[in-house]
Amino acid sequence: MGIVRSAVVQLLRFMALMAAVSFITFVLVSASPIDPVQANAGQAAMISMTAEKRAALAERWEVDTPLLDRYGSWLSDAVHGDLGDSLRYNAPVVEVVANRLAGSALLLASAWVISGVLGLALGIAAGALRGSAIDRAVRLYCYMLSATPAFWLGIVMLMVFAVMLGWFPVGFSVPIGSSASAVSLGDRLYHLVLPALTLSLTGVANIALHTREKTIDVLSADYVRFARARGESTWSIVRRHGLRNLLLPALTLQFASISEIVGGSVLVEQVFSYPGLGQATVTAGLGGDAPLLVGIALATAALVFAGNLFANILYGVIDPRMRKGVGRVRSIGA
């Protein structure tokens, strides 16, 4: 009973989110000063173009159709599962988004995991050894990194590791001029290192600082005092009680950081010419490609929604108070 109810509630929430995101994206695109015809045809082509041709293009890009009509026709197609065609890529939006997402998946996932694990470890170490040299070093790093824009860090990384040292490629996700079948996993990973590192380094700061605060909270709790009074060492306390009680806030942070990773990837992919979802977002935005931009917005919103939903479900599995709480309510109802 309870499960069906909460599933229905989540589904309604999801649909409301999708509707809101798609509408806002349409509004933003139509408010954009960019003339899609001119942006996509190019200055020179526009001048030499005949009036009929220009009118045909304007109709294809729906320049003169009012916003609500455009959104209405998009929505009626969308509920039937058709998200339209990307004008820029000349292909169905679903296909473009799926391709681009596949290209970004490795980058997003590795940055997400690295920033989560590294942030958690640094945060716990700094919190447990509060005031020590390690704590100060971690804090200095975090404050510096959270004040650093991801794209600037990306350019610095490129200058140092790609241009000056020559350890890593300057851009792209695969070697230039090689056919898709010739690209090995090693090649992909090699091209992944710099963008993934850039994306995760900035993510670490946020997670480490939050984890540090939470660690200090947990270690000043009464149950930690009692454990100390029973002769447990700090390390044993962190292992037995600290990690257990840090797990829930850490998961919240980790899943909330999905949105930041996705947002950061837009800039990082641009800097590294990494052909993923982030780069497609910029292309769609600058080209006035409303269907593609909406498709990308929906895909990323769904990703973030799924992350938060998953975290919510995990809480119930991990925290005995929530788990039993549900059971008790049910037994009263029965």
Partner: protein, 320 residues
């Protein structure tokens, strides 16, 4: 002597009178600031726990001064506190709520805030303690019984917490001991699998006591083990401590509930103004005439059966 933190003016509290603290003395004699109860005895001619001139101060910024001009001041919370616990007895430390009694437990367990400065002398079982030795006694000689279920990890099963951190090899042995204790204290075997939020007040109280007993302590320090408990559960709580003392252990019971304390204590140490103003046999509380200090007499008058008189300022005479 224990010392923690860095602050000016921390001097070791050695005095000539303390150099030989455990010389043989007659039982009724007033010595080491206290007189005995009939059950008090010294094994090996020394106290189980002896504290002399314990002073705890906190180094903090002056809260009255403007923010940027505030200088660090030392706030003394406990001063010159002395008390002794004998084997086989319950010593109740009674005083008003929020008067700093818990700092005494912190000092004995060696749990200080980073800005605390602790001076004084602590002997355990005839051995002089210092800041290194004292923490080694946690769970190995001295066990702590805390106030409430808040002192249990909310996300760990009760059984795992009672067993506590131990070597893998000792785990089964400790599990057996836990089960024996749980049976002795009337806790169902299912409690082992519960989480702290599922415990009733009485169950939590027994679980916390068993946590302490698991380590076979010689001294139990109980810090307000009864607040929020129904009277009959609270009485059980202090009676269990009595039973432990009857088995040869020592109990330092810190409480604001003098009535409850008197039901089990052999001796009572009256805490007032950051120090122990009187340490005397519980039987002295039969009449105000056998109490030496004005605050003790005020406490006596404040007891329900003596008319609930609220202690007034005049009772403060004699202590700083």
């Amino acid at each position: 002597m224990t010392r923690q933190g860095e602050c000016a003016g921390c001097a070791p509290g050695f005095g000539a009178e303390n150099a030989v603290p455990h010389a043989r003395h007659r039982d009724a004699e007033f010595h080491h600031h206290h007189s005995h109860a009939s059950t008090s005895h010294h094994s090996g001619d020394h106290h189980l726990l002896a504290i002399e001139h314990l002073t705890v101060s906190f180094d903090m910024y002056d809260s009255d001064a403007p923010f940027f001009a505030a200088e660090r001041r030392s706030h003394e919370q406990l001063h010159g506190l002395s008390l002794s616990v004998h084997e086989g007895e319950v010593l109740a430390v009674v005083g008003a709520s929020g008067s700093g009694k818990s700092l005494l437990a912190d000092a004995i367990m060696g749990l200080y805030e980073p800005n605390a400065c602790v001076t004084g002398t602590i002997w355990f079982d005839g051995e002089l303690m210092d800041a290194k030795k004292l923490p080694q006694l946690r769970g190995r000689g001295i066990s702590f019984v805390p106030q409430s279920v808040e002192h249990l990890d909310p996300l760990m099963r009760v059984g795992d917490q009672i067993i506590g951190a131990c070597a893998r090899a000792d785990r089964d042995l400790r599990r057996q001991r836990m089960r024996a204790f749980m049976e002795a204290y009337g806790l169902d075997a299912s409690v082992e699998r519960m989480y702290p939020y599922e415990l009733s007040g009485g169950m939590a109280r027994r679980v916390l006591l068993i946590c302490a007993l698991m380590d076979e302590p010689r001294l139990i320090v109980a810090d307000e083990p009864t607040p929020g408990l129904d009277l009959d559960i609270a009485v059980h709580a202090v009676e269990d401590l009595r039973t432990f003392a009857d088995g040869g252990g020592g109990v330092l019971l810190i409480t604001h509930d003098i009535d409850l304390a008197l039901t089990v204590a052999d001796r009572v140490a009256v805490f007032h103004g950051g120090t122990i103003v009187e340490e005397t046999s519980a039987s002295s509380f039969a009449s105000p005439d056998t109490l030496r200090h004005p605050f003790s007499r005020a406490l006596w008058r404040a007891m329900p059966q003596h008319g609930f008189a609220v202690p007034d300022g005049s009772a403060d005479g004699g202590c700083a």
